[in-house]
Symmetry: D2
Subunit: 352 residues, 4 copies
Amino acid sequence: MGNSIGKLFTLTTFGESHGIAIGGIIDGCPAGIELNFEAIQHELDRRKPGQSKITTQRKEPDTVEFLSGIYDGKTTGTSIGFQIQNTNQRSKDYNHNTDVYRPSHADYTYAKKYGIRDHRGGGRSSARETANWIVGGAIAKQFLKGIEINAFTSSVGHIEMPTHLLDFNKDSIEKNIVRCPDTQTAAKMIELIEKIKKSGDTIGGVITCVIQNVPLGLGEPVFEKLHAELGKAMLSLNAVKGFEYGSGFAGTKLKGSEHNDLFNADGSTKTNLSGGIQGGISNGMDIYFRVAFKPVATIMQKQETIDADGKLVEMQGKGRHDPCVVPRAVPIVEALSALVLADLTLQNKARQ
Amino acid sequence: MGNSIGKLFTLTTFGESHGIAIGGIIDGCPAGIELNFEAIQHELDRRKPGQSKITTQRKEPDTVEFLSGIYDGKTTGTSIGFQIQNTNQRSKDYNHNTDVYRPSHADYTYAKKYGIRDHRGGGRSSARETANWIVGGAIAKQFLKGIEINAFTSSVGHIEMPTHLLDFNKDSIEKNIVRCPDTQTAAKMIELIEKIKKSGDTIGGVITCVIQNVPLGLGEPVFEKLHAELGKAMLSLNAVKGFEYGSGFAGTKLKGSEHNDLFNADGSTKTNLSGGIQGGISNGMDIYFRVAFKPVATIMQKQETIDADGKLVEMQGKGRHDPCVVPRAVPIVEALSALVLADLTLQNKARQ
Amino acid sequence: MGNSIGKLFTLTTFGESHGIAIGGIIDGCPAGIELNFEAIQHELDRRKPGQSKITTQRKEPDTVEFLSGIYDGKTTGTSIGFQIQNTNQRSKDYNHNTDVYRPSHADYTYAKKYGIRDHRGGGRSSARETANWIVGGAIAKQFLKGIEINAFTSSVGHIEMPTHLLDFNKDSIEKNIVRCPDTQTAAKMIELIEKIKKSGDTIGGVITCVIQNVPLGLGEPVFEKLHAELGKAMLSLNAVKGFEYGSGFAGTKLKGSEHNDLFNADGSTKTNLSGGIQGGISNGMDIYFRVAFKPVATIMQKQETIDADGKLVEMQGKGRHDPCVVPRAVPIVEALSALVLADLTLQNKARQ
Amino acid sequence: MGNSIGKLFTLTTFGESHGIAIGGIIDGCPAGIELNFEAIQHELDRRKPGQSKITTQRKEPDTVEFLSGIYDGKTTGTSIGFQIQNTNQRSKDYNHNTDVYRPSHADYTYAKKYGIRDHRGGGRSSARETANWIVGGAIAKQFLKGIEINAFTSSVGHIEMPTHLLDFNKDSIEKNIVRCPDTQTAAKMIELIEKIKKSGDTIGGVITCVIQNVPLGLGEPVFEKLHAELGKAMLSLNAVKGFEYGSGFAGTKLKGSEHNDLFNADGSTKTNLSGGIQGGISNGMDIYFRVAFKPVATIMQKQETIDADGKLVEMQGKGRHDPCVVPRAVPIVEALSALVLADLTLQNKARQ
């Protein structure tokens, strides 16, 4: 189980990195939305491998094919089936893994939980799955007209963007390959990733996401709070180790008198440590949160590990992997945000 | 919506802080579990207000009454209904709030989302709801025999427990009123909270939770990952602003060669930066995570705010509130963990 | 599991016939609905035992107490908790059943499935549960302003109401104790039930339900068709053995040229063998369906049966039971219909 | 919504009859099941059009392609994606329908609910969708080893199979094209269907389904009763107007003393009017139920109808349609039964 996200705007997915295709079904998308297919493909291109010198050099065209639910370019209200062919699998890159469990990967847990696993490229645990989310999220974005979602790389290793969270130039995000809106920081990040890559190692980082023009009222009171749904979605993303919104962990050091967001007469707040959400419900201010990514587990260095018989063996990563997932994860964070917002928008609409 | 948690072991709840009662329904608990009712009440007592000088002085006996699903002291497999009477509501403490939106509370968002709100004590947004979770979690814990869940206060404001996450004395947790297993740190935390309280202010903090003896295989691959479900549950808790597990945000600064957990021959790992979860599935190692709590929004100082007409008014907290929610939230974090683990245990069992 | 109905307008319930109380939680009811509490109690009175000479003589006041989700007489949008005390349990009526499995009851299957059972009055399998549905349905009805739901007894044993399904006088339904709108048929039905009762036996029957003023568009295309949701709800009702809508089983004998409902220019249809539903979606015409009830299994005659050890024993019903459940089931069929329609109304609203 | 069935063993589907492909995702199927692909294709062949002179003469090879979730011929425990290409769409058969609402079809309700519709071949409302169910059901059947599910045609129009429900020769079902195990009745049914077809008309019928070797304990007590889930699944099938199990509608005419199934010492029952289910839970006896199908709405005769502007127009069916859906629906009833049983089996297993 666990291959679905959303309750009213749902995405259910399938696919292993080295199978024939990956794909999904979007159920619950309202009818009559005129789709911009180029915009969908554009999002896939932002995620796809091989897009720059700091990403994996695998080439996957990642072209989405829609199979149903669309007529005359518009959604019909029925389920939207889609698939993305797997065209560049070099499964033999993984032959050495057949019985070897890679450290800090899902190989061991999958093998033990299911008693069987598709060892090629991580199978279902591969981040290739996230291409499906991009498709779902791109359609959700088109449904959510008016709401603006921008994610960006705010730190790589120890290099952090100095500016305040909400004070970024959104037009600068796509101007560099690391997707950090601060040009100077971006240069340092790229330099670090190249250095890390040369050494056969990998590095983690943080993505910040800012959501603007959110209508008041999204989110449900107790167990479907807006930030809880966002957090769950982000924690579903491969390599994510943490999520914080608004003041986050730093806010734990503040006093109430410092932390409270005082109101303006129009209901907006003078500060926004709440991160645009109060009691689990959007208050109309900007939503922002941060997502922590660990370094990629596949490194091009020798590591000792075990095989299926518990024998210690030496292994070295062979495939074509990212030295840092963060730049490619930026559009994925946006896609997941869009899926969550679309779902809670429908839920809110149902009762008004 | 949003008043349920869990798919196979579900808890659905109701109740406002100043209504007649709060309560819930546990659905999916297996039959034949001999319940220890004292243990359930003990957990409620750990959460209840008035338990020490650093908590609110409200007195709520918080006695749970079971209405169904139990026969001869054992669960029958049918739904378990329960309620907890509200006995110590001083609704008049809230008369001054009728039309006033407290800063950084849910008053404004509830009023705007629903067009109506029960203003007494925060209504449904009150943390009184968490007493329901304690009941559900206490039963989940008894179902999860063998798995050990221990949460504790690891920081209050700037005061942090120095010891390593997993290196704590679990018998010391309940030895002090702040629930920090390090006696010296605990003393400093208590001192800080008392000082904060005297100034009519509040302070945030962090709870760490460690789960031991977890069987391998809990968690589903993509959208119901074990840590994503834990994260969602924690983010449902009032005042929580962040969640991280394993290496968390600090892990983003590490290299893959530093972060990877190398295997021992038996499948255990030499290090545990993964936090006991790989690919969303428990690997048998200890699970640990950290939860960030903001300072309580109700302070005993004058604040400017607005009323329902958008008029600026001055207000001052009157009720009996916690200067720091963290000590009382420790058993709640454990209860939510138990609910998540019970649910994923059933899901795992279904397919074996 | 299985103690919830509905996806967006949900009712989750608990309670055994001989426990302290039964009750439930309604989640998803929109805010701001001004509740008519007398109307809710009126529906409970229509269901309650002891209401006439042809029902069980048990006396249960069945007073509902609301615990949350209502403020100033209006729904607040949060979960509505309620309970109904069990006041007239004569559990000793069931002492003879401790280890005896009553024929065609749920005793045997519950005992074997769960390994434990509350034998008093059928425990969770008792139709006492349906009082909870009445409460949920009564609130759903008030939400569904404008839609009119009328059920009635259309047959008891071999006595069938002669008139056409949709050609009934709704004001006559409550004029007699068997709830058949045709006075002459009603008299015969009552006579039959009294005769059956005198012989210590029971008898089955059929309820017809007609729903008018249903807006076009309720129901989802494939697996949440309006009639499938109605059918599932009806088949959840104790003693129900069948469900048919529109032309039903009789329609299987017709030719397409006889069965097709031709359109009028305004989209209404000249005939209505479709029963107001086409492709699983309401078309604005009257919805009607029929529900089959078997005779009550508890009879006041000696029957041979087995006990928990598989020993053959003789037993005779002792409690106070209905000779025919159909008259009391009429308001339950309406309540379940209202719950289904409320749920699908919200789902439809979400996407418009 | 509404494109999913099942809670733990789920099938989510997509596809219009005249799109590129139909398909689905099976989520929750346990790992390690060695699949018999020929058996899956065999079930598709039993459903496919053009298989005999009494079915539609459309030719659709209906070859299923699996895209994920299977490795080395075994299920891996992850989601199983599949698709079936649409190869024989003659969309121009439907050009005359662009703006015309066919009587007793879903054209009108879809157009009004969604404001847009894929008019070719009924779009999403087409029974082509049921090929997806066959795939899901065939895999569910292989998971349910030991349980035997046999459906057959028990009536067509007024021609009814004389023998008792449970007294049929399962080896005879596939021996004739109408799938009635009684050879003499089968001949009459075929004759009737051919006559009806010649007149450009259609006819309804009834399918009986018998499920044997069901373990005791499947089904949940209140809202997920085994027969309610079966009923809901059957009522999802195109053209179905009714469902009854065990004694069904005929049982309403019996007295309790006639209807009760008395026990044998081993817990089996001497009679089985309960249809193998008591209190919503399987009791180990044979389960049997009947499903009513209306005559196909598309007839090859002139009918008056309306177009999108409400103008009265004359139309005549052109495509290639079944004069009676019942023979081809037999494997679909079995597939849906398997899906329901697989789901409830997992749910039962979760708590044992």
